[in-house]
Symmetry: C2
Subunit: 227 residues, 2 copies
DNA sequence: CTATTAACTACCTAAACGGGTGATGTTTTA
DNA sequence: TAAAACATCACCCGTTTAGGTAGTTAATAG
């Protein structure tokens, strides 16, 4: 199995090495990465920059397939920077490589366009695999990061909507209130009298256990009672 | 390197093999997985079930560390099933292994408590690594899945909150309205007179371009103006 | 056929609200 | 130091809302 893998890598390498650029301010790390990539078959290091500003200036000379970027950088930080890189080179793949593993930064980096997120302690082989995985359309992440992404993922949706037994008609009415209607305009919208609207709103309030239009609107929106 | 890895696996194996159960209706796949896991050092197959119903009944006899579950199952489907498993055995890890790679199912499975999501074409070695990765607190995903998770992640991104130049004070006030306060109780909360509150609310309405409390509340919630 | 119920309408009152205008001080700025 | 900006409060007035009671019609069920 190892042989076939190596063979596969070599043929791919011969065909077309993965052009990689590095953005990292610490000299030892930057040079280490550059060597690793430069001396591995199937990969080519097209640039190693100390800052986003430097990258912006020089990266155009040889646009890489993948950028390996740190987050903590002097001047413009990595997250801001990759946002700009993605705008200029939308097809370019971006992997973050950083010591930060807080939810905030992971979230921001991925939303800014990062295709993967690796921690600095990623072993060299895994890093090279990640580059290839990214080129193949994957999204390599360190295990801890993947774990956090999924955790964040769960947090975003779960408000398991409570059920207040609202009838379709009551829901339609509630939507109108959410859209800023008052009793009068809502009545016209529903082609019924204002008194009818008032009557049903009372029932909605009872069901939702609220005592004003804005409380009802807040509850409807917070608990996703609409749609 | 291979030697150290093997050694490491063996020591871990000796210490404590990873107890794995399989839930999969297709006989060949189920038995294949069971063999793979059963005959690999460091892993132990504690059960192989054809349906969730069977798993519920028999899994208690020897609760595994990890469950490998299909999604398409006769009777209760895998997603519903793992939700129940997670309730009964919260510490149990769950990996989906399925042919489905649609956003919907990935999303649902992860929200239902899956710790990872593998496609059926995952090579055996990678599958075993995934089991270990899960036990080590990671969230193994096939590259395509990771890619989709990140794509979904970006889509959920809060709709770039518009800025209405609300002052901290105005935001505090808006929060009170969202929480169902009226002018009077809000005034008490802010330790100021009702007239002051009315005054500031007017400004909030101007800034948000609305004309009622509920419109303001709706806008604040929809556009995430708070926090 | 009568009782019941659902769906809608009506009216009433007190409270809350929205939109004005304007008066104080206090702080910042020019 | 004078002017401008800000924060706080006050009153007015017409409209909207909340909550209560009650009447009409039409369909349903016993």
């Amino acid at each position: 199995m190892l042989d076939t893998l190596t063979l596969k890598n070599m043929t791919e390498a011969t065909k077309k090495p993965i052009k990689t650029a590095i953005i990292e301010d610490q000299d030892d790390i930057r040079e280490g990465l550059a060597s690793l990539i430069g001396f591995t078959d199937g990969f080519k290091c097209t640039g190693a920059y100390k800052s986003m500003e430097e990258a912006f200036e020089k990266i155009r000379r040889d646009v890489p397939d993948v950028v390996l970027s740190d987050i903590g950088l002097p001047g413009m930080d990595g997250i801001q920077g990759i946002k700009i890189l993605k705008e200029r080179y939308p097809q370019m793949l971006i992997l973050m490589i950083t010591v930060y593993d807080d939810d905030e930064r992971i979230f921001d980096a991925l939303c800014a366009g990062a295709n993967g997120y690796l921690l600095k302690r990623t072993p060299p082989m895994r890093l090279l695999e990640s580059l290839r995985e990214a080129v193949d359309g994957g999204s390599p992440m360190s295990p801890e990061v993947a774990s956090k992404v999924i955790k964040l993922f769960r947090e975003i949706r779960p408000p398991e909507r409570a059920d207040y037994d609202l009838t379709p008609h009551e829901i339609r009415l509630l939507k109108l209130l959410v859209d800023g209607h008052n009793y009068n305009t809502a009545a016209k919208e529903l082609k019924s009298s204002i008194n009818t609207v008032k009557f049903y709103i009372k029932r909605v309030y009872e069901k939702l256990q609220v005592h004003s239009k804005s409380e009802a609107v807040a509850k409807a929106l917070k608990e996703r009672l609409l749609e």
